[in-house]
């Protein structure tokens, strides 16, 4: 893959167990801290990445520990890109309901995508929804 010279790519690859979310949490927490994001942005990125990771593990890979969730953290100056990939069947963003609709407000699930999109500057779904690409600027 072509990389611009000042780009640093950190890859993390874990079995699809929700027990391992703590690894993802620690990596992203440290990356945003070292990149110098302010505290609010740090929490937002942290949350978005955990949501995307949980979706990859739960919805994508159905918590099959033989399937892996893959993460790429691409650091370029003030821009952090996080790519989350799973080995599942994907999904269609259009079919996800808005959790802020009154009828959905007190549902016990369905807020992950919404939080990712609220917390990051851009969120894109690729490869039929098996890949999420999220960007946050400092």
């Amino acid at each position: 893959m072509d990389r611009t010279p000042d780009e640093l790519v950190i890859c993390l690859d874990i079995p699809s167990s929700m027990q391992l979310i703590y690894v993802l949490d620690s990596v992203i927490s440290e990356i945003v801290r070292e990149m110098g994001f302010d505290e609010e942005s740090r929490e937002q990125v942290n949350l978005a990445v955990i949501e995307a990771g949980s979706n990859a593990i739960k919805h994508g890979n159905k918590e099959d520990v033989n399937k892996r969730a893959h993460f790429e953290f691409i650091l370029i100056q003030d821009k952090l890109t996080v790519v989350v990939q799973d080995g599942g069947a994907g999904f269609d963003r259009e079919n996800v309901e808005n959790p802020l609709e009154p009828a959905n407000l007190l549902k016990s699930s369905g807020r992950g995508i919404f939080l990712m999109e609220t917390c990051m500057d851009t969120v894109k779904y690729e490869a039929r929804g098996t890949t999420v690409r999220m960007v946050k600027y400092k």
């Binding site: 929490e43 955990i50 949980s54 959790p99 369905g110 807020r111 992950g112 919404f114 939080l115 917390c119």
Partner: protein, 114 residues
């Protein structure tokens, strides 16, 4: 996540440590369901102390919302204590600010049940 269960009068205080994320949140769900089961007439009075909670994700928030509706339906009440920046932002984003009663003082939270 670690949870300790304390009693003040007939109010149960759940002190939570760590992350309310992913499958971790199931511990909280089970603890709350237990409290509903053992409460007189299943009318639970619960204070959720979030002071030591580092992060809550949508799954954890879902568990709290589900607890809220199921307790409410049975005539009980659950309130939040020490809702910090991160969690407060989450609740704001999810438009749940008007749903949850929040307190910054434990005695006040407990007294709110009288």
């Amino acid at each position: 996540m670690d949870i300790t269960v304390r009693k003040k009068d007939d109010v149960t205080i759940l002190d939570i440590w760590g992350r309310i994320t992913g499958s971790n949140s199931l511990d909280l769900k089970h603890t709350i369901n237990e409290q509903i089961d053992i409460a007189v007439d299943n009318i639970a009075k619960i204070v959720l102390n979030l002071e030591r909670v580092r992060i809550v994700d949508s799954f954890g928030l879902g568990v709290i919302v589900a607890a809220y509706t199921s307790i409410q339906r049975k005539g009980g009440r659950i309130v939040l204590l020490h809702v910090g920046g991160n969690i407060k932002n989450l609740i704001v984003m999810a438009k749940l600010m008007t749903i949850f009663d929040r307190y910054d003082d434990e005695d006040e939270a407990v007294a709110s049940f009288q």
